[in-house]
Symmetry: C2
């Protein structure tokens, strides 16, 4: 029995992680759950998976939950809850699936507590990858990616020599606006940008897919997760999202991982690693799919991904600023307060206005992200 | 310095293996070469790579070679030559690239002598895979595939658990006649069938690609090389020959190897394994290629591949009979003595006429292959 904490249990990844857990009875034990404010769904999860500890960020939701769950379940309200869940002494494996910068502290806590981590919170590495990975190495902590691209790279590196890697190639679906002309992008509505062709995800990440910022953030994540120079991380647009990413070796050989678009694939890979679970996902039938397309990403229409390379080049707190600025810009776009094309512009402006500092602490990274968020906000307001 | 014997050195794979060797001076030493009858090319290779032993199957060519190479080079004529090269005491690694059933004895000798083998001679496993692999296991001999499909599977299995493999999926280009209608196949000329779209190979294997018999023989090879039940080995037609083959795991995840169509890729992979060589092949640029297509193989137009599954089902000497019958049928087609569509019919007839015996020796496998050859010949003559 692998003993789990699932942080962000009521979100998309959390729910799917529990779905995987439920399919393999006797294999996992849910020791702790952590969520934001969805008390009703959390109560249902508590009744089903019987964790010992439940963290609820929202104080009101925490009070509501008290009346919904059996006595004996420890409820920890507030921001300390996720950290308590991540470092619970009975937990072996932490599914870090809180979304946004809010996930960083609990990821860092899991590293400090020596837990194996299934990382779905990309901001943990975008904001503070240098620190988190260094500390993970010192503590002997394995961080297993829970997203389709980095899981694909993990699977494509397995059994091969790291020092023989020439390039990592992240595939990008291109998002819902892949074929939209440059002039038209200014007029794109939130509803249109939210229609992702392949993946069902939260709003923030769907908009990040539409701008290609998501792929840029994944470049930053890959840079730290796999310790690869960003100049050796490329992006290729692949609309079918079947090839989830690739590794090119020095002999020109590429190893790739392919699969259907179902996050339970990478979730189960991380949960069971180094074993695999016999998931009954619909099989990938390439002969039926027939066609896989590839094209270069277009920096003229989708400049956001190039900002990630720029942030890595600046280094230090710059990626955290980019992440914060993007959170604010996407929120402003979804609220109808700025145009689709403003998102990248706001991020670029925040990045250039920032004076980067060497990264020394998680709190500093969070502060830089907040600075980026406020900077973008301020510019939206103008 | 890895000390090599290259069997079939004047053939397509042999020449490319020596090209790889020449690109990495100080890394390999060519101890022995073995060829059939091309004395002029062999003499040139001897002068360049300075082997200690040279085997020449054709006695006349052996005599011719004596006058062309420096004194001190041991020349071994006749069929014993390849066996002597394969088991030379100074050799560590044998590139088994003799074509056809003629390659089996020297592969078996290399196994007995405990050499690591880079196997380009698929007949070694088609005729006697059960025996060769069992003996290789007993002798602790590693057999590394030198063909693009099995090299791809080798690379896609590395680092993963063998008992979590659900399927091997061999890709097939579909050959030069992939889009030709059934009625028209009867009229296909050798010249047309020899125009392979992606790979430059010998005549026999190019015709085998056109009939899909080659893919069937590769299924037999994969069955023994990777110890996988044939019911878990599938074929998908992929005209671009970029995805060289794939492995599907029990969680639905597929790992694939991709690359340009250049045999120096799989040759160098086997030669340097477990390292990789920094080959300067043209890089694979998927964004430029743009499109990868996949379709099911068509047993109605190309029934030959189904015969391989049938031969494995019969077992024992049946695959050897199929291989021999195919050699004769392809030779007859190339000589204008039968139709393209007769190739599969001749093979099927030989297979059904044969009474299979459990496989006990290499000589028995060779005899079965000869029987298949004669049986197909006899039917062509009618």
């Amino acid at each position: 029995m692998k003993r789990l904490a699932i942080l962000g249990s009521t979100g998309s990844i959390g729910v799917q992680a529990l779905d995987v857990v439920a399919r393999f009875p006797g294999r996992f034990e849910v020791v702790a759950l952590s969520a934001g404010k969805n008390a009703a769904r959390l109560a249902e999860q508590v009744r089903r998976f019987r964790p010992r500890l439940v963290a609820v960020a929202d104080e009101g939701a925490a009070r509501e939950l008290c009346g919904l769950v059996p006595a004996g379940v420890e409820i920890v309200p507030g921001e300390a809850g996720a950290v308590a869940a991540a470092s619970h002494p009975d937990v072996q494996f932490v599914v870090a699936a809180i979304s946004g910068g809010a996930g960083l502290r609990s990821t860092a806590a899991a590293v400090e507590a020596g837990k194996t981590i299934g990382l779905a919170n990309k901001e943990s590495l975008v904001l503070a990858g240098e620190l988190v990975m260094r500390r993970a190495e010192e503590r002997g902590v394995a961080i297993l990616p829970i997203d389709s691209e980095h899981s694909a790279i993990h699977q494509s590196l397995a059994g091969h020599n790291r020092d023989e890697v020439r390039r990592l190639i992240l595939t990008a679906s291109g998002g819902p606006l892949r074929t939209v002309a440059q002039a038209e992008l200014r007029e794109v509505t939130p509803a249109r940008a939210l229609k992702h062709p392949n993946w069902s995800m939260g709003d923030k990440i769907t908009i990040d897919s539409a701008t290609l910022m998501n792929k840029g953030l994944e470049v930053i994540e890959a840079r730290w997760l796999f310790g690869v120079d960003p100049r050796r991380i490329d992006i290729v647009v692949h609309p079918e999202s079947i090839v989830h990413s690739m590794v090119e070796y020095i002999d020109g050989s590429m190893v790739a991982q392919l699969g259907v678009s179902d996050m339970r694939g990478p979730i189960s890979y991380a949960l069971a690693y180094p074993e695999r679970l016999a998931l009954d996902l619909p099989p990938l039938d390439l002969a039926r799919i027939g066609h896989l397309g590839f094209e270069p990403p277009d920096p003229a229409r989708f400049p956001a991904f190039t900002l990630a390379y720029r942030a890595l080049e600046i280094g230090g707190t710059a990626p955290a600023v980019l992440s914060g600025a993007d959170e604010a810009a996407v929120a402003a776009f979804l609220a109808g307060r700025c145009r689709f094309t403003d998102i990248a512009d706001l991020c670029a402006a925040a990045l250039e206005a920032h004076t980067s500092e060497p990264l020394r602490s998680v709190e500093q990274a969070l502060a830089a992200s907040d600075w980026g968020r406020r900077e973008a906000e301020r510019r939206v307001g103008r």
